[in-house]
């Protein structure tokens, strides 16, 4: 059985039927990407997985366990971490306090120092700014903080919602390298991206989402070669 299994999920915002039967799986150790245009339902899918939204129909199963009856904070304790869309750092808290909250769900504080060093190793910039209030960081630095904060939880699966959004190309490459590194260290990753080219270059498989439905699913290579994907998401005519 797959590590994460989303099965025929329907999610609504009031009357708006945002997800119309999404099914996807993520195997242990994989990087899977979810691509699609604006309003396709990518963020909604991630919010449904981590319990911020509850599906009206369908199931989210993590490691064999149905998540229907769990609240977000309980799902986090089961090993799910998310880097939300638009970073979501706590602007009035310092960098260090943000990272500390990332480790909130960890029971053992013993590895806290080494976790912190690992994050600072990935993002030396954060170390320089550890006492600074997060709201004063640049956009790229906030993205680093959001990722670092999620890593502090030692997640079994990391959900990333458009980590490249609003970043300079050079930073995007750095962030994607980091995602690859994190994955190599054993974290399963579900990556939502509009930057399909980058996402497909590091993922093993991908799903294409359109108006709340999965219209295509394949290996990353096949998706890169797919004509419709090239037209719609890779900017290749």
């Amino acid at each position: 059985m797959a590590f994460l299994e989303v099965h025929d999920v329907h999610t609504y915002y009031g009357n708006i039927h945002a997800l119309k039967g999404i099914s996807l799986t993520v195997e242990r150790g994989e990087i899977v990407t979810l691509i699609g245009g604006n309003g396709a339902g990518k963020t909604t899918t991630l919010r449904t997985i981590c319990g911020l939204l509850k599906p009206r129909r369908g199931k989210v199963i993590l490691d064999g366990e149905d998540l229907a009856d769990f609240k977000t904070h309980q799902i986090v304790y089961k090993g799910v971490a998310m880097v939300p869309e638009g970073r979501g750092v706590f602007a009035r808290l310092t960098v260090e306090e943000n990272l500390d909250l990332g480790a909130y769900s960890r029971n053992d504080r013993a590895t806290y120092a080494s976790d912190l060093e690992r994050v600072f190793g990935l993002f030396p910039r954060l170390k320089e700014r550890r006492k600074q209030v997060a709201g004063t960081l640049s956009g790229g630095e906030q993205q680093m903080l959001a990722i670092g904060r999620a890593l502090m939880a030692h997640p079994r699966i990391l959900l990333l919602d458009e980590p490249s959004m609003g970043l300079a190309p050079i930073l995007v490459e750095g962030i994607f390298d980091t995602i690859k590194d994190i994955n190599r260290e054993g974290t399963t990753i579900l990556l939502v991206e509009q930057n399909a080219l980058m996402a497909l270059s590091i993922a093993s498989r991908g799903y294409v989402l359109q108006t709340g439905q999965i219209v295509l699913q394949d290996s990353a290579e096949n998706l890169q070669a797919n004509e419709m994907v090239q037209k719609a998401y890779l900017g290749i005519e």
Binding site: V76, F90, A91, L101, G102
Partner: protein, 370 residues
Amino acid sequence: METAKPRTTALKVPLSTYRIVQIILAVIFAGYLIWRIYQVFFVEAVYGPDTWMRFTIAGLILGGVYSLIAIGYTLVYGILFMINFAHGEVMMIGAFGGYFTFEALRAIPASTATNPDTNFLNAHPTISVILAFLIGMSLSSTSGFFLEKIAYRPLRGAPRLVPLISAIGASIFLQNAAQLLFGAQRRDYANPDALARGIGFEIPVGEGIVVLTYTGVLTFVLSIVIMIVLYFLVQRTRLGRSMRAVAENKPVAALMGIDVDQVISRTFIISGALAGAGGVMWGIHLGLVFFFVGFIPGIKAFTAAVLGGIGNIPGAMLGGMFLGIVESIGPAILGLNFQLKDVIAFAILVLVLIFRPTGIMGEVLTEEKI
């Protein structure tokens, strides 16, 4: 999600008529105030330095109590963006808790070396006072906890006016419940003899003597200590960090593994404890308790919280102190009857809401909060 926006855009916005009227009114008011201060100090000179000192001390003591209660408004607003209008009643419950503790301890016979036939209250005043605070604070915490669970939690996510109406309803309910349980009469808050009202340290000032009452010292010192403890709790502890995270962004706080509902409950428990301490202080220092006792201090503390910038903890502390002092020296300066001190407090509330709704400390209102 959003970063702090620049606080003032005054330079970019052209002066509106409304703004000009505001400024003119402010100038007139400031001018009047300066003229009054000049009159009072140099022309009329009715009050000597001892009297001014008395006013200031009374103001600081009252201010400490207002601050404690104001923090509760601000903590809850910071997290739920609602005004907990039943907070004054939470304070009233604490005041009653202290009152009944004293009454119960008085009924317990005890003997001391000097007086073989006394009661526990007078034989052990320190323990009695500590017990009164503990019981008053616990009762207020408990009522704050249930208040949120019953009156506010089911309305989470409803339009902002709805929990506000619920809060007013809860306030009326608690007043009436207290009246039903304890009667409508004003009760004398009977302190231990060692802490009788009016006695204290006598300090000669100018031609007079200023009495620094023991109840006043207790109230002021304790309110400062509690505020320091609260500050450390919010800034340095895991609970404090999660409270600040929840105040800023609930979904992301949940993504950290924080149980948002539990943090909200604990915020009400902490706010309740502070209000309860304020209630016991109110009783010990001012000497009266009845079902309506929370109403006026509640509104005053709300004024203080708005004054300091609602949602801002240091703002609530300063706002409370400021209001206490203004209320106690204001009538003298403005040449008003002292019974009009409440009018001053409410005039301040109206003025702040008109001129600077974000308060002195200017808490930035983010989109989410509006």
